[in-house]
């Protein structure tokens, strides 16, 4: 097997005295869409926060193209090609849609490329094009989620990490967001998708990991996990 794009090896993260992640290992191959599933508080967001260096690893390593990136400044991980779309959207409410998108391309110097990516984002989410001059804070929840995803894309990442993109959205919008992610995946973008909505995530993922209280309990292809009795009982409902 090739060197994975991203590999977590025996990663442990602690907040004060509490162990949030216990020696987890996980790989993402280039071009894959990998889902990270689990209940609230299982450590899904912490995993993403550790990868983008917002929280330090207590032990274990985070490898990017095979080289360890532990201890980098968070903004340096963006430069490496890791784009983290955080939980709760976190759009810059007091700036316009287009300013949010342009700030997503902060590290890029290729003006022409940024312009064309901006148009690509508007093509992916036409509602953002209609609201480009509006303040991001005035958008609906679904539109803010689209803006957050589009803003992460503006960095032209190698790996896009999404934290609960379906959270708090109406079912119709969840479908819309998932379709957009699927389209990005078809275009070859590598993604690590954190979701509580296991149904929606497994429908578009290639592989998935299941986190339970900070440890990886199960892993496998999305198709296999969809039919796994334990997963069905715990996350998929009847």
């Amino acid at each position: 097997m090739n060197t994975p794009l991203l590999a977590l090896e025996q990663l442990t993260v602690r907040y004060g005295g509490i162990t949030a992640l216990r020696t987890i290992s996980l790989q993402v191959q280039s071009g894959e869409l990998v889902a990270l599933l689990g209940a609230n508080g299982a450590g899904k967001s912490t995993t993403l926060r550790a990868i983008s260096q917002l929280v330090p690893a207590a032990s274990g390593s985070i490898r990017w193209h095979g080289g360890t990136i532990n201890g980098l400044a968070p903004e340096r991980t963006v430069k490496l090609g890791i784009s983290h779309c955080p939980e709760g959207r976190r759009v810059l409410a007091r700036q316009s849609v287009v300013d949010n998108l342009e700030l997503g391309a902060w590290l890029r110097r290729d003006q022409a490329g940024v312009r064309s990516d901006l148009e690509r984002c508007y093509g992916l989410f036409p509602r953002l094009a209609e609201r480009r001059e509006q303040l991001a804070g005035s958008l609906s929840g679904g539109e803010q989620q689209m803006l957050a995803i589009a803003r992460s894309l503006m960095a032209r990442p190698t790996l896009l990490m999404l934290d609960e993109p379906s959270l708090g959205l109406a079912p119709k919008l969840v479908a819309e967001v998932m379709e957009a992610l699927q389209a990005l995946h078809r275009d070859g973008l590598t993604m690590l998708l954190v979701e509580q909505n296991a149904n929606a995530a497994l429908a578009i993922a290639d592989r998935a990991y299941v986190l339970v209280s900070g440890s990886i309990e199960q892993q496998g292809s999305a198709a296999a996990l969809r039919h796994d009795e334990r997963i069905k009982a715990a996350y998929l409902g009847p």
């Binding site: 983008s52 917002l54 400044a73 968070p74 903004e75 963006v78 430069k79 784009s83 983290h84 955080p86 976190r90 810059l92 409410a93 007091r94 700036q95 300013d99 342009e102 700030l103 997503g104 902060w106 590290l107 804070g137 803003r151 960095a155």
Partner: protein, 311 residues
């Protein structure tokens, strides 16, 4: 009558413009960190002393540096921006010593109020130790190539006051354009709104905070040099009164609002100028009384916004 009115307006606007510069320095740091930098007044004071030294002034007899004079003297126009830059450097050191260690340890941001107050006290006492407590006047010969007063709209106005107003206005306009229109200005606003998200976009938050401190120090230094020229440096503590006034301006205009800082500065300056000369001891009463009344009606300040609670 119109003469008096012109003079009065100009008095008010020129001192108000300095208050605005001062408050804008507070605003820059407040908007990125959410705390007031209490050492700001001391940086202002330093700016005045730096200007005094750079134009060739010599230190009096009471400090460790008694009789000291720089081996060169430069025109005021060179001295003022240089003093601003030196003040910016001091502000960066204050950030490094009084703010960053707390941030790195994840301490409550409010603790920076105490550490910055401490840094301010140290600076003021250092000034006293080095150059003594006497007042220094920046000689008006610093502007030898300009007439001391010119006629404007039928009134004789002091050139210094016009300069104060012009320099402050130019800086305020440049700064507002930069914050609202430029890429790095937008990045600074992103850090102010949400530093973690800014980092996830690749914006170096720590660097942007340094830029805010540097600019804030530069503005304070320039304001100090201008006031020193206009009314003389009344001793190491002379920045404290302006510091408090700047704080009042900030609250009046609305915390964290750039146009608010400017409007607040001009209003307080004009309010003070309306106090007749024989009652000049009551100027501060008028300024703070005005602040008091406005806050009763608009607690968020004139242009401040009520912070929405997150959903």
């Amino acid at each position: 009558m119109t003469t008096d009115l012109t003079q009065l307006l100009l008095n008010g606007l020129s001192i108000g413009a300095v208050y605005a510069l001062f408050a804008l320095g507070y605003t820059l740091v407040f908007s990125v960190l959410g705390v007031i930098n209490f050492a700001h007044g001391a940086v202002f004071t330093l700016g005045a002393y730096f200007t005094f030294l750079l134009i060739g002034g010599s230190v009096g007899a009471n400090g460790l540096l008694a009789g000291f004079q720089l081996p060169f003297a430069m025109p005021f126009w060179w001295a003022l921006p240089l003093a601003g830059m030196a003040a910016a450097a001091v502000a960066l050191v204050i950030e490094r010593i009084a703010f960053r260690p707390l941030r790195d340890r994840g301490a409550d941001p409010l603790l920076a109020l105490i550490t910055s107050l401490g840094a301010g006290v140290v600076l003021v006492n250092l000034i006293q130790l080095l150059v003594g407590a006497e007042s220094y006047a920046i000689p008006t010969t610093a502007l030898a190539d300009l007439p001391p007063a010119i006629k404007l709209l039928g009134a004789q106005v002091r050139t210094v006051q016009l300069l104060l107003l012009l320099v402050a206005a130019v800086l305020l306009v440049i700064l507002s354009l930069w914050i609202d229109g430029s890429r790095s200005g937008k990045a600074l606003r992103a850090v102010a709104e949400d530093p973690t998200t800014a980092q996830l976009l690749g914006i170096p938050s720590a660097r942007m905070i340094q830029i805010a401190f540097g600019l804030s120090g530069f503005l304070a230094g320039i304001a100090g040099g201008l006031v020193g020229l206009s009314v003389s440096i009344a001793g190491p503590y002379f920045g404290i009164g302006y510091g408090l006034k700047g704080l009042g301006v900030l609250v009046l205009g609305g915390l964290g609002s750039v146009p608010g800082a400017v409007l607040g500065g001009l209003i307080i300056g004009l309010a003070e100028a309306c106090v007749p000369a024989e009652l000049s001891g009551y100027r501060d009463v008028v300024a703070y009384g005005f602040l008091f009344v406005v806050l009763l009606v608009r607690p968020q300040g004139l242009l401040g916004r009520v912070m929405p609670t997150k959903v």
